[in-house]
């Protein structure tokens, strides 16, 4: 140890690796500290997001003064430590380990999906022997075998690093694969008759250092050298995990997770990772169409746009702007949403605009609540979950939550209506009953859970139950807002719903989190006009449409009939509207009735920015040219505006981004330049998060710097803090711009009927693999959709007099239908849970949006 001058506060340790001396954090592992200072120690089993196991023995090093060769992945740095990774002895060990790994590894690199980007290939070239001395018969297994629909296993190629097993156990909590047998017969397998059905199984394919685990989606689709890559964000849900999307011959073939510290930690869910095929589906409509006399015909874009503009203009003249409504907008980019907002509110002049389709929360609450960031979960005093099952709705947020609770020890207060993936780890469980206020002692319970802890309380709030009015959630949130130092994290799941709300696609709001009233003067100035009065939300629009008050309904990537919780109402509304203008990629139950169909680009075909659930604005990338003549949504809106007499003067997507930054108060400073240069994007409003901005210092490369392989260690984009923080004035809105909306914490009183002893109160949540377009047009994911069933507590099942798995008749105010029923001890007595589905057996036919809750009468068929 050095006897330096008395540095009382020295918090780092001095380490020397291969002659490079640097300061490291105490407790940091040698392998990581060395890598961060430019010394790459080869490894297979170690992954920086998982606990080290020291199995592969590739990272053995020599430490002066120590005995033997300790693994760099399990050895923490110590002050004065001198490490050698290139001595003859260490090189001999590396050479030996690689030779051992290769003796039973088949030489089928040419047909292996990993060939060409394989860590085993690369490290063998860098550290291994030139030729094998192994002349015996190699190990043989049938190849490949499916672990699940998504993941295939080739046990011959496996090098037993346990990365997949550890991921499933430590990170995902789905202990569905493990080693069986031992010695060189040891193999990874799933358990008998239990496939590896994890929502996160694709991550094991990405972190596998060989081609043992391959994705059935990517199998033989391309080879690494014919892929091209663009950095993007996944918009399957509102988490917006960073990714690298790859295409070959103008088809999206693979999405890899990029490790973003504030967002996804290098993980993706399977729906996001494998939901690519739908973009190239043969069912996609890629040319504009109009309906004449009930017959569809393909027309040119100008004709279709003229027709749509005429319909809007006529309706406005005859019935006023309020007779026009716009639904949707949560699927595209911020730019799409903004220009549609301009079109609807500034040009047409209607406030009947809503991007949420009945599964959101009131914009007053979402746009005005005090927001937490995802990273706040890690340092929270406690986490309160006021939602359904996050694993199904926002899967990677579930992983972050799980890490915060299990690894970092943050206490979890579980207020969900039924048990979910994290309930087993909750410090406090108080089940919320739909329609009823929170339990009276919830504040005591929260204080008890946080005892002795510092930090904020983070409330994760989503629309946990589609069968109950959103008011009760807002009411509960208002109650929780009384907790000291509390922040809210939205768990609304729709792709870019937060971006759409921020862009003003909500009744009563204008872009940039400002209300219609507050922003009237400013936006009249900018846009030349705004609606006079607050309009209707999605439910109100559908209701008005059903009553014949909406003449033109524009569906921007929306399908109310299949997506709105109350399908009965949605169907009536769609049937009653005179003219439907659909901006979509597919024909749906709703767009079938459209008069004009305008094909739009989908994810992967368009560039722009999106805003995730914490308000982080990040880029999405364009990887392939659009199918057919599909156009970006924002451009369609701009073309319609032109035909309605307003030239928005927007030519490129960057110009739209810059206009948003200039016009929308919450977006002040979020210019196209900032979004491109900030590695992790920027959290709105930027003024409050300036210190979090990291500038990228290089472009994304899926190849590791040291050439040690591709996409198996976390893929990172290099960045550094800006030399000097941006000037506040650059990120502050214009002095005349309106202030941001603040939630007034008003709590609507839920006025649900008392629970009836003979009925079960319905809880409807979203399943990850739902009947949405992404899943239904991706055959691989389509196979994973579960048949919806009714889950009730075993005691209720006994009372109904039916066995688990049997059929029951359920009756709500909307009608009756027959569904399968299953016992689930995680569902409280008196509650019935069901996944949302709009098909013939789905919950959508039971939900009545007019009622605060839905009570089901359940009868045995016998």
């Amino acid at each position: 140890m050095t006897t330096a001058e008395p540095q009382a506060q020295k918090t780092t340790v001095t380490v020397t690796v291969d002659g490079v001396t640097f300061e490291a954090q105490p407790g940091e592992l040698v392998i990581k500290a060395a890598q961060e200072h430019g010394v790459y120690i080869p490894r297979f089993c170690w992954h920086e997001r998982m606990e080290p196991v020291g199995m592969c023995r590739m990272c053995l090093v020599e430490i002066e003064g120590g005995r033997g060769y300790p693994p760099a992945c399990t050895t923490p740095v110590a002050d004065g430590m001198v490490v050698h990774t290139q001595t003859d002895a260490v090189k001999q060990i590396q050479d030996g380990v690689l030779e051992f790994l290769l003796i039973n590894h088949p030489l089928d690199c040419p047909v292996c999906d990993r060939g060409g980007e394989c860590p085993l290939q690369d490290q063998t070239l860098a550290f291994g022997p030139g030729e094998s001395r192994f002349v015996e018969e190699k190990r043989h297994f049938p190849k490949p075998i499916p672990l699940s629909e998504l993941v295939l296993l080739d046990r011959e190629r496996c090098i037993q690093c346990a990365r997949c097993i550890r991921f499933a156990d430590e990170i995902a909590g789905d202990v569905l694969i493990d080693f069986v047998d031992r010695g060189d017969r040891m193999q990874v397998l799933n358990f008998e008759e239990q496939p590896f059905d994890s929502y996160f199984s694709g991550n094991t394919v990405q972190i596998c250092p060989v081609g043992a685990l391959t994705a059935s989606q990517y199998r033989f689709r391309a080879r690494p050298w014919d892929l091209s890559t663009v950095e993007t964000s996944c918009t399957t849900c509102s988490m917006h995990c960073r990714g690298a999307v790859q295409s070959s011959s103008n088809r999206l073939v693979r999405l890899l997770a990029v490790d973003s510290e504030p967002v996804n930690h290098g993980w993706l869910c399977d729906k996001g990772r494998y939901g690519l095929e739908w973009v190239h589906s043969e069912h996609r409509l890629i040319e504009p169409q109009v309906r004449d006399g009930g017959v569809w015909s393909e027309v040119s874009w100008p004709d279709a746009l003229d027709r749509a503009a005429d319909a809007i203009e006529t309706a406005k003249e005859l019935h006023g702007a309020d007779a026009i409504a716009v639904l949707g907008g949560a699927r595209g980019t911020n730019e799409d949403a903004y220009v549609w907002s301009v079109l609807a509110k500034g040009v047409i002049g209607t406030d009947n605009v809503d991007a949420q389709l009945g599964d959101g929360l009131p914009a007053e609450f979402v746009l005005g609540m005090e927001r937490a960031e995802i990273a706040d979960l890690d340092r929270a005093r406690a986490i309160v979950v006021l939602d359904h099952d996050l694993r199904d709705e926002v899967p990677v947020l579930f992983l972050r939550l799980r890490r915060a609770v299990l690894e970092l020890g943050v206490p979890l207060v579980d207020l969900a209506p039924a048990a979910h993936g994290l309930s087993a780890h909750a410090a406090v469980i108080a089940r919320t009953v739909p329609g009823e206020p929170l339990a009276a002692n919830v504040h005591d319970e929260i204080s008890r859970a946080c005892e002795g802890r510092q930090g904020r309380v983070v409330v994760v709030v989503g629309r946990g139950n589609l069968a109950a009015a959103a008011d009760s959630i807002v009411g509960a949130a208002a109650e929780l807002a009384r907790v000291h130092d509390v922040r809210f994290l939205s768990a609304l799941r729709r792709g870019n719903v937060h971006g759409a709300l921020d862009a003003g696609l909500a009744p009563g709001f204008l872009p940039g989190r400002t209300t219609l009233d507050a922003g009237r003067a400013w936006f009249t100035d900018q846009w030349g006009g705004v609606p006079a009065e607050r309009g209707l939300d999605a439910e109100g629009i559908l209701r008005a449409a059903a009553d014949g008050k909406i003449r033109v309904l524009v569906l921007v990537g929306a399908d109310p009939v299949s997506d709105f919780p109350d399908a009965t109402l949605a169907r009536r509304a769609i049937d009653a509207v005179d003219t439907i203008i659909a901006v979509d990629g597919f024909e749906s139950e709703s767009t079938k009735r459209a008069e004009v169909f305008l094909p739009c680009t989908l994810w992967g075909e368009k560039a722009g920015t999106v805003t995730n659930l914490e308000g982080r604005v990040q880029r999405v990338g364009r990887k392939v040219a659009p199918e057919g003549t599909a156009m970006d949504d924002w451009r369609i809106a701009a073309e319609l505006a032109l035909r309605l007499g307003r030239d928005l003067d927007l030519a490129t997507v960057d110009e739209v981004t810059d206009e948003i930054a200039r016009v929308a108060p919450a977006f002040a400073g979020v210019t196209s330049e900032l979004v491109k240069s900030a590695r992790d994007g920027a959290v709105l409003p930027v003024a409050g998060h300036l210190d979090e901005i990291v500038l990228r210092t290089g472009e994304l490369s899926i190849m590791a710097d040291d050439g040690s392989g591709t996409s198996w260690d976390p893929i990172k984009v290099h960045g550094e803090a800006p030399e000097e923080p941006a000037d506040e004035s650059e990120v502050t809105a214009h002095v005349d711009a309106p202030a941001l909306h603040v939630w007034d914490r008003r709590a609507p009183q839920p006025e649900a009927p008392a629970r009836d002893a003979y009925a079960l109160r319905l809880v409807v949540g979203r399943a990850l693999y739902d009947d949405g377009r992404l899943v239904s047009e991706t055959p691989l994911l389509q196979r994973l959709v579960r048949d919806p069933d009714l889950r009730v507590h075993p005691s209720d099942l006994a009372r109904i007099g039916v066995d688990s798995g049997g059929q029951v008749k359920v009756t709500s105010t909307r009608g009756s239908q027959v569904v399968a029923v299953r016992a689930d001890a995680g569902v409280p007595a008196g509650i019935a849970c069901m996944d949302f589905s709009a098909d013939a057996l789905g919950a959508a036919l039971l939900v009545d949006a007019g009622q605060p809750v839905v009570d089901l009468r359940v009868e045995s068929l016998r």
Partner: protein, 203 residues
């Protein structure tokens, strides 16, 4: 004088031996390693050698090869193993006959014949598909309608020699590799070459 000086050149050549031949009546002997048009080979049981690995496409400096792999049908496999090349196209408008694809091929599926007598009148003829490149049952290249084939070239084909060594070891320099299965026999090593598979030395 000036205007006749050109004829002097002609006159001077008249007595000298001629280097040109009357092609196609007379054909030069081709260099043994001539790189002609490619064939895709089969094993003796008729299975295709190509496994669709795209290494040829990856190495091709002219980017003229397009390959797509697919899962071998279990009940009717096209090639041995998991994967076969279900699309294989060479664009001869771009091919420079460098033979790197042959070097890269791990299964000796693609080799170059000595055939050079082919030309095209349209673009689609120039893009040879897998069906056109595959050898016939006798192991010989298929004669396509637009190919001339004045004879001789398809007999002396199939052998190739490594320009690069598989492991970078100099011991492989100049070592011949032969596709003996093709039915044309195997040539003896030329001067300075080593046999493809030397008998393992005892001790």
């Amino acid at each position: 004088m000036g205007r006749f000086s050109g004829f002097l050149v002609t006159l001077r050549q008249m007595g000298k031996p001629r280097l040109t031949t009357e092609y196609p009546k007379v054909k030069h002997d081709k260099p043994e390693r001539l790189h002609g048009r490619h064939v895709l080979n089969r094993y003796e049981d008729g299975m295709e050698k190509c496994i669709g690995c795209e290494l040829c496409a990856g190495v091709c400096p002219a980017r003229c090869i397009y390959v797509r792999g697919a899962d071998n049908p279990i009940d009717d496999p096209v090639s041995p193993g998991e994967r076969y090349g279900f699309v294989y196209e060479i664009n001869y408008l771009r091919c420079i006959h460098c033979d790197l694809c042959v070097e890269a091929c791990p299964t000796e599926a693609i080799t170059e014949t000595k055939l050079f007598e082919f030309s095209f009148t349209n673009r689609s003829d120039a893009i040879y598909t897998k069906d056109q490149l595959l050898v016939d049952d006798a192991g010989r290249a298929q004669r396509l309608p637009w190919e001339l084939w004045l004879g001789g070239e398809d007999d002396a084909t199939s052998a190739w020699m490594r320009a690069t060594s598989p492991s970078g070891a100099s011991a492989y320099e100049g070592r011949v590799s032969w596709s003996g299965e093709l039915g044309f026999g195997v040539r003896p090593p030329e001067h300075g070459q080593q046999p493809a598979n030397p008998k393992p030395q005892d001790d």
